[in-house]
């Protein structure tokens, strides 16, 4: 195996994977938030990432440095998320889980087709104009923007945690997640909490998308893999487990990069989706031994 003979390649792959993993973890954190508070599994998650990426690309076209796009994309996507909640999502909050699954799936198809019609299906990049770093005598290359994206992903995630812990709204969100009925009794406007939660999720995904557009590339159909990765990370980490989300996200990034190298790049997505099936089957199999199932 070339990976064992040349450990430097492994280091390179794993490092790049870890940098990518932070971005996955950010999107997954948003999914866990919506899932925990509203009991909705948001299939449109990846489409929010894609939309945030297009915000960065458009700012890049306008001559603005795309790093500035991270807060702008978050703000724009917060508004988009809020508007989507007021238009569609509030109707499905208390409904059957399959209804919300299918409705957000419909939203995701709608968004990706809209972007495909508006911007064509081409791959877009927001060039940040940063150089490349060389480690281990130039054997391992890391582009600086990936490192910057990693750091920013951690910063955005940290801000989110502090917001949830400290602010009044954050407390209201956590109260609603614990028990929506009791929160309503205590005078919390849960409808507003849901709207803010969905908007915050979209904002997280939006900043995540701006990072993706700078460090990697985007096109209208990147959404579904991000949704699936987020879902997988949340299933592995468990709801409301922030450290778990980070570890699972970083691990997934590294595993995916290694698999892409071993199996060939054309099978990298197949690996992601196959891994989802394996993770779910394995977890369910473990639970079935105790006469339980995934809930």
């Amino acid at each position: 195996m070339i990976l064992i003979q040349a450990p430097v390649i492994t280091v390179d792959l794993v490092l790049n994977g870890l940098l990518l993993g932070a971005i996955f973890a950010l999107a997954a954190y948003g999914m866990a938030l919506v899932w925990g508070v509203m009991s909705i599994i948001n299939i449109a998650q990846g489409e929010f990432v894609m939309l945030g990426g297009y915000v960065a690309v458009m700012m890049y076209w306008g001559g603005i440095h795309p790093l500035l796009a991270v807060p702008v994309a978050a703000l724009v996507m917060f508004i988009v998320g809020w508007a989507l909640y007021r238009a569609v999502i509030f109707r499905i909050v208390d409904r059957d889980l399959f209804v919300s699954l299918l409705a957000t799936f419909g939203l995701s198809i709608l968004l990706q087709q809209l972007m495909n019609t508006a911007f064509s299906g081409n791959v877009q990049i927001a060039e940040a104009g940063l150089g490349t770093m060389f480690l281990f005598d130039g054997l391992v290359t890391l582009s600086q923007i990936k490192v910057v994206a990693f750091v920013l992903a951690i910063v955005v995630g940290g801000c989110m945690v502090v917001f949830l812990k400290r602010s009044r709204m954050g407390q209201a969100i956590r109260a609603t997640a614990q028990n929506a009925r009791a929160a309503r009794v205590m005078g919390i406007d849960t409808d507003r909490v849901y709207a803010v939660t969905y908007g915050l999720n979209a904002a997280l995904c939006g900043s995540c998308g701006a990072l993706v557009a700078m460090a990697y590339s985007i096109h209208p159909y990147i959404g579904l893999p991000y949704t699936i990765r987020s879902f997988m990370i949340v299933v592995v980490a468990g709801l409301g487990n922030f450290a778990g989300v980070i570890v699972a996200g970083l691990g997934l990034g590294a595993a995916e990069n290694l698999a892409g190298f071993i199996l060939g790049a054309q099978y990298q997505l197949a690996f992601v989706f196959g891994l989802l099936v394996v993770v779910l089957v394995w977890r369910n199999w473990r639970l079935a031994a105790k006469r339980q199932y995934l809930k």
């Binding site: 569609v88 699954l101 299918l102 409705a103 419909g106 997505l269 989706f273 989802l276 369910n284 199999w285």
Partner: protein, 350 residues
């Protein structure tokens, strides 16, 4: 009696349709296949309560199996796919070869899809609710990505299905009748299943799986069986769809989770989940709407379809049959107490 006349009328319309609307034969053939998709989805999704986004796997497996058998009986599949469709003039099929290919290919497509369903089903069907739904979504995309990377079956550039020889008459009419027969067969089998103990068992699983298991039903075996039955029909339907489209793209046609995979769910929801006729009605309405979008909203048709999914799921989840059942319960054999109905209407008005 009136029911028999109704069935006879539908059969007569089905047989006469290609002569009445010769310009729409391939669309109508597609409609019969959509009815098969919707009926088999509803067997597992509506009647058994296991909502799957991954039934496209069986369509894709059937499509590839049928096409590979059609080619492989007479030529080398590797050479055929290496020619990338440019070899259509070299790799020709006469009428006997073509029919032989179909006669072997379609049953094998069913068998292959059934085997895949049995293997995947015993792994995946232990999951419940939304975990099952998302897991099957992953299965569909993973299968598409694997087909996309597999050179022997044409990888990302797809596979051209053998062209029908000229001695066969009009190709779309030929496939129209095959699709029609398959749809009628599916309907008969499915409606017969619903009248047996098996139908009661899958309904029991939908209503409360734990209780069904406690009553002694072998739930896992029943669930896998139901999935295999739907896969058998989907495999044949996939084989026919591949021949109808004449070109298999691994992601856009064979394992098209974002089109056929969602459409079949939408057809069932639109018609009415968990009913016998709902999927049929839903498929007809959906195909009409789809063709309307493709004709009058060109360029925006996929956007319109996405919007339609959201609107139907959010505002019309009970479906056409569910709506009619609420509106005219007597017609569905429900006894309605007029006083109670007035009371309920009064409650609703308040």
């Amino acid at each position: 009696m009136s029911r028999l006349i109704g069935y006879a009328a539908i059969l007569a319309i089905g047989i006469a349709a290609p002569y009445l609307f010769p310009n729409y034969q391939s669309q109508m053939a597609e409609l019969w296949l959509f009815i098969v998709f919707a009926l088999t989805w509803d067997l597992v999704g509506g009647q058994m309560g296991y909502n799957s986004f991954g039934n496209v796997v069986f369509i894709g497996v059937g499509m590839y199996t049928c096409a590979i058998v059609q080619v492989g009986l007479f030529y080398s599949v590797t050479d055929y796919n290496a020619a990338k469709g440019g070899g259509q003039t070299v790799f020709t099929f006469d009428v006997v070869q073509y029919l032989e290919g179909l006669a072997v290919g379609l049953p094998l497509a069913a068998v292959a899809a059934g085997i895949v369903a049995a293997i995947l089903g015993s792994a995946v069907l232990g999951m419940r609710g939304h975990y099952f739904a998302i897991c099957t979504l992953g299965l569909g995309v993973a299968a598409g990505q694997i087909a996309n990377g597999w050179d022997w079956i044409g990888a990302g550039s797809g596979m051209v299905v053998p062209h029908a020889p000229s001695g066969l008459g009009e190709t779309s009419r030929f496939y129209y009748y095959l699709a029609f027969v398959l749809a009628v067969l599916t309907f008969i089998v499915v409606s017969w299943l619903y009248s047996t103990r098996f139908g009661l068992a899958i309904n029991a699983i939908r209503d409360d799986e734990d209780k069904a298991e406690a009553m002694g039903l072998p739930t896992t075996r029943i669930k896998v069986t139901a999935w295999v039955i739907s896969a058998l029909f989907l495999g044949v339907a996939g084989g026919l769809l591949g021949n109808l489209k004449r070109f298999i793209d691994p992601i856009e046609v064979a394992f098209a989770g974002a089109s056929f995979g969602v459409w079949m769910v939408l057809m069932v929801i639109l018609g009415g989940k968990g009913t016998l006729w709902g999927p049929v009605i839903g498929a007809i309405v959906f195909q009409l709407l789809k063709e309307f979008f493709w004709t009058y909203l060109l360029g925006w048709q996929r956007v319109a379809l996405g919007l339609m999914i959201v609107l139907i799921v959010v505002f019309f989840p009970q479906g056409i049959l569910g709506f009619l059942r609420e509106r005219f319960p007597e017609r569905f054999g429900h006894k309605v107490d007029p006083a109670l109905a007035r009371g309920a209407a009064g409650e609703a008005a308040k």
